[in-house]
């Protein structure tokens, strides 16, 4: 039976929903259908030596960007670019005594890595990229490197939650976020799908357990309002961050993306953000990027397509519609929204095929 024949016979999920064959029809092979987008991203942000450049942050490179770029290279089946980024990262950021990466590299400086602290999200995506690459490019050495990172994360960045020993939290870095009275957490560092895949591939159950705890933590935060950039965890409970951004800003924009991507589109955190987007977003114009978490007042907006893509994906996920208001990819935006836009592409491809851009 042909794919389209099956589509006609399959009971529809409703007038607008898709059957599985229709999903396949919409998706195709992203390595082919999304090639132009990937090449555009590379030409804008990837140097020839494998460095992912964040222009807004002093042309620096960081473990997050390297991890993000390497993950995308696996999605778009670009072994050469993956290898370049991997080599550059190992040479310039893998300078810690453990398996983790220094969080940032600054060009043109005598000491390009003045701070050797790590960034947990960068390490997580780096490990995830290695896990995917091991399968996609059939190279087990990538998996072995991922195992080292996963183990180091479990050892140094996963702790029991204060006051709730049965739950784990993900520290943003090895140092600097454990205080006498509380822990500072970044909710957007939780990427449940990545944590689970890395845990499964590397045999690191703590990461999977932490992903489970993270989803619960995000749910608890979202009960009060939008998930903020930072939150303090005390033995007595959660509270707004005193030292870092307590708004739902550029960090927290990733939370609904990662949850949708992790196949929990009904999560409270997603629904909260979707409600704000549905209330404020007009297609083609600027979307909210910084929001007061409790009142929902929009403090900043941006017309960068990457942020619009996040809004389009979140609204589509919430409304269960057919097609999303995701704009075409543009390399004329900064590294961060551009990369998030590609993540939105991957999220649609892997979990919500009905949310292809209109």
């Amino acid at each position: 039976m042909k794919r389209r024949d099956f589509l006609a016979c399959a009971p529809a999920f409703g007038a607008m929903m898709l059957s599985m064959p229709a999903q396949a029809a919409l998706q195709g092979d992203l390595a082919q259908t999304g090639r132009a987008v990937w090449e555009s991203w590379k030409s804008a942000f990837l140097s020839s030596d494998g460095r992912v450049i964040d222009g807004l942050q002093q042309q620096s490179s960081h473990s997050e960007g390297q991890g993000y770029g390497m993950f995308l290279a696996t999605v778009f089946d670009d072994a050469a670019s993956f290898r370049q980024m991997y080599q550059w990262t190992e040479r310039h950021l893998a300078i810690r005594p453990d398996a983790l990466l220094a969080w940032r590299w600054l060009p043109g400086q005598a000491n390009p890595v003045p701070d050797r602290n790590n960034a947990t999200d960068g390490d997580l995506f780096y490990a995830w990229a290695l896990v995917r690459a091991a399968a996609r490019f059939r190279d087990r050495s990538y998996l072995e490197r991922a195992q080292g990172i996963a183990a180091a994360l479990a050892e140094t960045c996963i702790l029991p939650m204060p006051g709730r020993s049965d739950q784990l939290v993900l520290l943003p870095a090895t140092f600097g976020f454990q205080h006498d009275s509380h822990l500072s957490l970044n909710p957007s560092y939780y990427m449940p799908l990545a944590m689970r895949e890395v845990a499964a591939a590397t045999g690191t159950p703590a990461l999977a357990a932490c992903a489970q705890s993270g989803e619960a933590l995000l749910h608890e935060i979202a009960r009060e309002g939008l998930v903020p950039d930072w939150v303090d965890v005390t033995p007595s409970g959660l509270r707004a961050s005193e030292a870092l951004s307590a708004n739902a800003g550029y960090e927290a924009l990733r939370v609904p993306l990662f949850l949708i991507w992790s196949r929990v589109p009904d999560h409270m955190a997603v629904r909260r953000m979707a409600a704000v987007y549905e209330r404020t977003v007009q297609p083609g114009v600027a979307v909210p990027t910084v929001i007061e978490p409790l009142s929902g007042v929009v403090l900043e907006s941006s017309a960068d397509p990457g942020y619009q893509a996040l809004a389009g994906l979140t609204v589509c996920s919430s409304q269960r519609g057919l097609g999303a208001t995701i704009p075409p990819f543009s390399p004329d935006q900064p590294y961060y929204p551009a990369t998030l836009q590609l993540f939105a592409v991957v999220a649609v491809h892997e979990t919500l095929p009905e949310c292809v851009p209109l």
Partner: protein, 764 residues
């Protein structure tokens, strides 16, 4: 510290600690081994070229300074000011004017209006809910225009919106017209702009040629707010017009998701949307769902989604484009999905020139030529009409125009009205003698053989010298000439006959007519095919659709040439040589010009030169006679080709394949220009005819007619048609038939002489 030692010291201990906590000691041991080998393997991956870190591994910090923390998590590090947030110009867009007459010169989205007085018609699309209150024109005028007296006057659906001076001379500037209530209607609206341009210094036809105003159509039209409350089919048509301005392709997404149905949908959408929208052809491109942003904002798009139920809806896309979303269930025909939506009904498929039937007085009004008063010093009007496809007159039969016109008294000497048919002047009427009174039914006879079956163009050109010519024209605007719509054209009878000519096949080309072979891709990309297909989409459904073969220059051998012997090298030169490379010069002439002494040599050998010249003269005359008696079209074609340069060449050399045309294009030609020339020729005449037609770099079609083409009678011989049909046959090859008749007469005379002599011989 070696890498291996570093691994042992940093990797093993933490791993053990973790595994103790997990209680999986055995797996932990295995993990230790794995971790050890992981880094070793990581070093060896990628051809074993993972370099060691630049700096030696250092101890980790025990604390992080507040400064570093603030820098690392500064909320402002992600912020970038977007111009969209602050730029008010991006808060609206333009539903653009669609130029109806494709004969005006166009570069990208800018068209040029020349002359003292021109009326230009546009369509503009509006929506009931879009709150359009301003019609904006973006213009720039030439330096010769006198701004104080040059102006444009705009009317919308017949309502005068006012008049504005053409004050923008150095760069494009905006002219806004406030729209009165209830003038604009949802859907298509007609905008008429009258241009009056005055020269700063001079007056007369020459001066009028220097007068021009450019309109940027992408920035001229109705101003539409970007934050529309709702979008529908009318808004989509507005956006489609905006997207198509300047030959920007309209994106159709996701068509391949329809599998085997995609091709029928592709053809339908390209054809129907071209029939819906007036003006230049709409070009499409086909993409997957994931696209990188093209140059400039997209205004309109079509997205196809496979779905359980079919429906059509209109939404605003993430980039602000108005999107027609087609949810398509299996088996849905595109006609069914778009049926019942009046805005998507065919509108422009039957726009063809009016048909003129022979032996009838056809009023100019029936040709679309309304009564017009001319007050300028130069004007040209083309009126296109069609003759039946089986109409053919090659004889000296006359057609007649009975012209009703009037011109002012005391016009300066040299004022004249020139009438032409298909580019050949048929009558020059002086306008400087008499005048001041209407002239009715002034007879103008001309040879009907100047007209062809199919499209023909009747042209009026008016010249009135300045009086005086070296001063600006006086401000008076009284008409100097009027041509009445009551004038008539009468075309003589023709038996049903045809003669090989690509005009008939060209008229019936459709979007499905394009054919390519395995080599065509060298000259025509898929996108080129779609562009040409769009240009041909407005054709009426033809009973016998013709075919346009797209040929690469490497594939000239595949063009059937019939009995013509076209020189391949000359064909290549026609499209390979640029406009700056003139026609091939005669070799002898070239040698002469390069050798200064050659010119004097004939003088030193007068007798030989005389003999040579005489001999060549005799040969030339014999060749002329031979060409008339036994026309050798190959030589004439090659001689003609040496003079031609252009973007593209159309061929129909084999009379046995009258419904097929072959097309060759220049490698550096712009396919949009070719498509526009094709669309314009089909709508307004002046297109390819004969056996070979070259699209020049100026956008004109230059045609070559084989001298030996033979007419064919399509009806039985009869007493009624004998004279006219025989006249056509004889007129096609007059010398041949003359010599044939002379031969027959001579033979008859010889037979008669022989008979006389033989009957008078004495029998012995």
């Amino acid at each position: 510290m070696s890498r291996a030692t570093w691994m042992l010291q940093t990797g093993v201990v933490p791993a053990f600690a973790h595994l103790r906590r997990a209680g999986i000691t055995l797996i932990g041991c295995l993990l230790v081994v794995a971790i050890q080998t992981a880094h070793a393997a990581a070093q060896g991956v990628s051809d074993g070229l993972i370099p060691l870190p630049e700096s030696a591994v250092q101890e980790l910090p025990s604390s992080v300074s507040p400064t570093e923390m603030l820098e690392r998590f500064d909320p402002a590090r992600r912020v970038v000011t977007s111009e969209d947030v602050v730029n008010p110009e991006l808060q609206y867009w333009i539903s653009p004017l669609r130029l109806l007459d494709l004969g005006y010169p166009m570069r990208d989205s800018v068209t040029r209006i020349s002359g003292e007085r021109e009326w230009v018609a546009f369509d503009v699309y509006a929506s009931a809910g879009a709150d359009q209150q301003i019609l904006r024109l973006s213009t720039v005028s030439g330096i010769n225009n006198l701004p104080e007296r040059s102006y444009l006057r705009v009317s919308l659906n017949g309502t005068d919106l006012g008049r504005r001076n053409l004050e923008h001379v150095e760069s494009f500037g905006m002219i806004d017209f406030a729209l009165p209530p209830d003038v604009l209607v949802p859907g298509r609206n007609r905008v008429q702009i009258e241009f009056r341009q005055h020269h700063r210094i001079y007056c007369g036809p020459e001066a009028s040629f220097d007068l021009w105003t450019d309109i940027d159509l992408s920035k001229s039209g109705l101003i539409v707010r970007r934050d529309l409350d709702a979008v529908g089919v009318e808004t989509f048509l507005m956006a489609l017009a905006a997207q198509a301005t300047g030959v920007r392709p309209v994106e159709i997404r996701g068509l391949d998701s329809l599998g085997s149905d995609s091709e029928s949908w592709r053809r339908f959408l390209v054809g129907r949307l071209n029939q819906v929208l007036s003006g230049a052809p709409v070009v499409f491109r086909f993409d997957d769902y994931w696209t990188a942003e093209s140059v400039g904002r997209a205004h309109a798009r079509i997205t196809v989604l496979p779905a359980a139920q079919s429906r059509m809806r209109f939404v605003i896309g993430g980039d602000g484009a108005i999107v027609m979303v087609l949810d398509v269930a299996q088996g849905t025909r595109p006609e069914d999905l778009l049926a019942g939506i009046p805005q998507f009904e065919r509108r422009y498929e039957d726009v063809r020139a009016p048909l003129v039937m022979p032996e009838r007085d056809i009023a100019f009004a029936e040709l679309g030529a309304k009564t017009e008063d001319f007050s300028q010093h130069y004007a040209m009007r083309n009126h296109v009409f069609r003759l039946p496809n089986d109409w053919l007159v090659l004889t000296a039969a006359k057609a007649r125009i009975q012209l009703d016109y009037a011109f002012a008294a005391n016009l300066p000497e040299g004022a004249m009205l020139l009438l032409s048919v298909n580019g050949t002047a048929i009558r020059l009427l002086p306008l400087w003698q008499g005048g001041g009174a209407p002239i009715d039914a002034f007879p103008i006879d001309f040879e009907a053989r100047l007209m062809h079956p199919g499209t023909n163009v009747l042209t009026f050109q008016m010249f009135v010298p300045g009086n005086p010519a070296d001063l600006p024209c006086p401000s008076g605007e009284s008409p100097v000439l009027q041509i009445s719509e009551t004038s008539t054209l009468r075309v003589p009878y023709s038996p049903a006959m045809v003669i090989p000519d690509m005009d008939l096949a060209f008229a019936t080309l459709g979007a499905d007519s394009l054919r390519k072979n395995e080599l065509s891709a060298r000259a025509f990309s898929d996108m080129d095919m779609l562009t040409l297909s769009a240009a041909l989409s407005r054709s009426r459904e033809a009973q016998y659709p013709s075919v346009l073969h797209l040929i690469a220059i490497d594939d000239l051998a595949s063009i059937p040439t019939g009995h013509h012997r076209a020189d391949r090298r000359l064909l290549e030169d026609t499209v390979l040589s640029g406009p700056e490379e003139g026609p091939r010069s005669d070799d002898n002439t070239g040698t002469m010009s390069q050798d200064p002494f050659l010119a004097r040599r004939p003088a030193s050998q007068p007798f030989a030169a005389f003999l040579n010249a005489g001999w060549e003269n005799v040969l030339g005359r014999l060749q002329w006679l031979r060409d008339r008696v036994f026309p050798n079209s190959g030589d004439q074609l090659n001689a003609w080709l040496t003079e031609q340069r252009g973007h593209a060449v159309l061929f129909q050399l084999d009379p046995d394949r009258p419904s097929e045309i072959w097309m060759l294009r220049s490698p550096d030609s712009d396919i949009h220009s070719i498509a526009l020339a094709i669309a314009s020729a089909r709508a307004f005449g002046g297109g390819p005819k004969g056996q070979v037609s070259v699209l020049t770099h100026e956008g004109h079609w230059i045609n070559w007619f084989a001298p030996d083409r033979r007419p064919v009678l399509l009806e039985p011989w009869s007493r009624q048609n004998f004279r006219a049909a025989m006249g056509n046959f004889v007129s096609a090859r007059p010398i041949f038939y003359t010599i044939l008749m002379l031969g027959i007469a001579l033979l008859s005379a010889l037979v008669a002489l022989r008979l006389v002599i033989s009957t008078r011989e004495h029998k012995t």
